[in-house]
């Protein structure tokens, strides 16, 4: 394409059109005032690679008695995979491998965390002073989301050095603090710096904290953080109801795709459901098996394409069922429904279902999965609530995906694709929630 080409960008730009008229955003906001309120993201948050973290978090919460006024303390060194660490009632830290944390929560809520190495992302609740002490400085916060990364730390933290003049001699090349919400103060004996959302601060040995270039907080990192914030909020919510569910999180390796009878009975007692979530999308072709998984399991390109095509047929059928459910529940027309993503459809169905219906749905599903009551027949199912039918559809999708794969590569290899290398299920994406008490939400 040359500049003489009538379709060259310079020429195309000559066809200018009006932008948004004045006051348009206000008119949109006014229209929204008449619309139903937004729901928070899915209560059944897909915990990608997070099942283990959730188990650990809830176990720790139960042990520490989240929400009590008791003094609490703990220590944790993260070995080989990301873990969620509950800091009693003051917050959550998502710690990467190699992170060492020690924490003390006083009876009045004052929290002091020592992070001597590694990288952790914190979500802090209001409720008193909260400090993260690193080898090179102290992070003081009041209620925020931020991450702390200690690089090249070789020695454990020396509290005297943090407070004293020899602070800069500690063997750590830098501490990076990135703030996502709220604000923090990063301080050391050489100075202090207020850090705002979107900013990253760095402190090096013997130097005052200074603001780092925005490039550190890359859009990718911010996007990752945003997802973590939401996940952590869900985990905190789960923690508050942990008395209802702590004992349900067992260690059945097939919990999400082939739960044992014992697991199913436990879940039935707690109106609990857990299942894996293969890709489910209204936009384009779902990729059930990506190239990396195909290579790992020894699936050829042709087989992979055939599996994904077979799965598309399956998921499209379920998508149509989901859309019909949505239209039935909301009265929306087909064109409007076709515009909505799967997540939007699911969220709306959930939003328009009562808590009682949702609990009843979980109870019925958990009991039938455990063999405590028969599976509903087709005729019975159409009389069940929309939320129950949606959940049954979601739960069934994992096995339907496996069947689609099996039609191409056989049952054994299909199962290997689903649970390869210890995965919790398709693409390691799962939902795991429940409770028979309507006050318990996750």
């Amino acid at each position: 394409m040359t500049d003489n080409d009538p379709l060259a960008p310079r020429r195309l730009a000559e066809y200018d059109v009006p932008g948004a008229p004045s006051g348009f955003a206000s008119r949109v906001m006014a229209a929204i005032d008449d619309a139903p309120p937004l729901r928070s993201p899915r209560r059944r948050w897909p915990l990608i690679a997070g099942a283990v973290a959730a188990v650990a978090a809830i176990a720790i919460i139960a042990k520490l008695g989240l929400g009590s006024d008791e003094h609490a303390s703990g220590a944790r060194t993260i070995a080989d995979r990301r873990e969620t660490v509950m800091l009693a009632r003051r917050g959550v830290a998502v710690a990467e491998p190699g992170t060492a944390l020690n924490w003390t929560i006083a009876g009045d809520g004052a929290a002091e965390v020592e992070q001597s190495s590694g990288r952790a992302f914190y979500r802090v609740e209001h409720g008193g002073p909260f400090e993260v002490r690193t080898p090179l400085g102290v992070v003081q916060v009041t209620g925020t989301c931020f991450s702390v990364e200690v690089t090249a730390m070789k020695n454990p933290i020396n509290r005297d050095m943090v407070k004293g003049a020899s602070f800069g001699a500690v063997v750590a090349t830098a501490v990076l603090v990135t703030v996502y919400e709220g604000s923090i103060t990063l301080a050391n004996p050489s100075g202090q710096l207020q850090v705002a959302p979107g900013d990253t601060a760095i402190v090096r040995p013997g130097e005052p904290p200074r603001r780092e270039s925005a490039a550190i907080a890359s859009s990718r990192e911010l996007a990752d953080a945003r997802a973590r914030i939401v996940t952590l909020e869900h985990e905190l919510a789960a923690a508050r109801g942990a008395d209802k569910g702590a004992d349900i999180q067992n260690h059945d390796p097939g919990r999400y795709y082939a739960p044992s009878p014992e697991t199913l009975r436990e879940m039935a007692d707690k109106c609990w459901i857990a299942f894996d979530r293969p890709p489910f999308t209204a936009d384009g072709a779902p990729e059930l098996v990506d190239a990396k998984l195909a290579i790992a399991v020894g699936v050829s390109d042709a087989e992979r394409a055939a599996i994904n095509a077979a799965y598309k047929t399956t998921q499209d059928r379920e998508l149509e069922a989901l859309r019909r459910l949505y239209m039935e529940l909301t009265g929306a027309d087909a064109d409007t429904t076709a515009m909505l993503s799967v997540d939007a459809l699911e969220a709306e169905i959930t939003a328009k279902s009562s808590d009682d219906d949702e609990i009843a749905a979980r109870r019925a599903i958990a009991r039938s999965r455990a063999g405590l009551e028969p599976e509903p027949t087709g005729a019975e199912l159409v009389r069940r609530s929309a939320i129950e039918r949606m959940l049954r559809l979601e739960i069934a999708l994992g096995s339907e995906a496996e069947a689609a794969a099996a039609s191409v590569v056989g049952a054994d290899r299909a199962h290997e694709l689903r649970a390869h290398d210890g995965a919790a299920g398709w693409q390691n994406s799962v939902s795991d929630y429940g409770g028979c008490d309507e006050s318990y939400r996750r």
Partner: protein, 189 residues
Amino acid sequence: MTASTPLRRARELDDLTLARAQHGDAAAFRALVETYQDAVFALVWRLRGRHAAAAEIEDIAQTTFLGVYRALPRFRAAGPAKLSTWILTIATRAVLKSRRGDREIVELEDLPQLPTQVARIAQRSFADALALALDALPAAYRAVFVLHAYHELDHAEIATALEIEPGTVKSRLSRAREHLRAHLKEFAP
């Protein structure tokens, strides 16, 4: 007011504001609207054509943002789609839905000869001729071209937006270009 960014992607909303908007923060959602409104208007104008009434364009744009509002909690910031692409997808579908009669795919060979106004307008301005040539394209071809040429969506993104195969995007884009070049040849020195 004119669209200030006709040939490049809208800037993206920062992730924190997006997260707040997803949690129902009205100020954050307003910021989202203000960030993407010009891109949406530019898209809608070019898809509907300059003959459309301003009120109709605003209705479609408003429908778009109401759709965004409803679906926003489910948008995955860490997913493959940029927020701008996702919003433009909703806008494109809103336009196509608004002119249901145009949704059937008309093959270019089946089109009547372009109106002779193109030649006449050629004596006035390239922009007018381009607008008319675009208007004469079937909606499905025009959407592919506008999303690619004016909003820089790639083939895969357009395929997702229009729920068609990437190969179809490529062929429609190619044929739309052929069509436009043929009818704008007076402007190629």
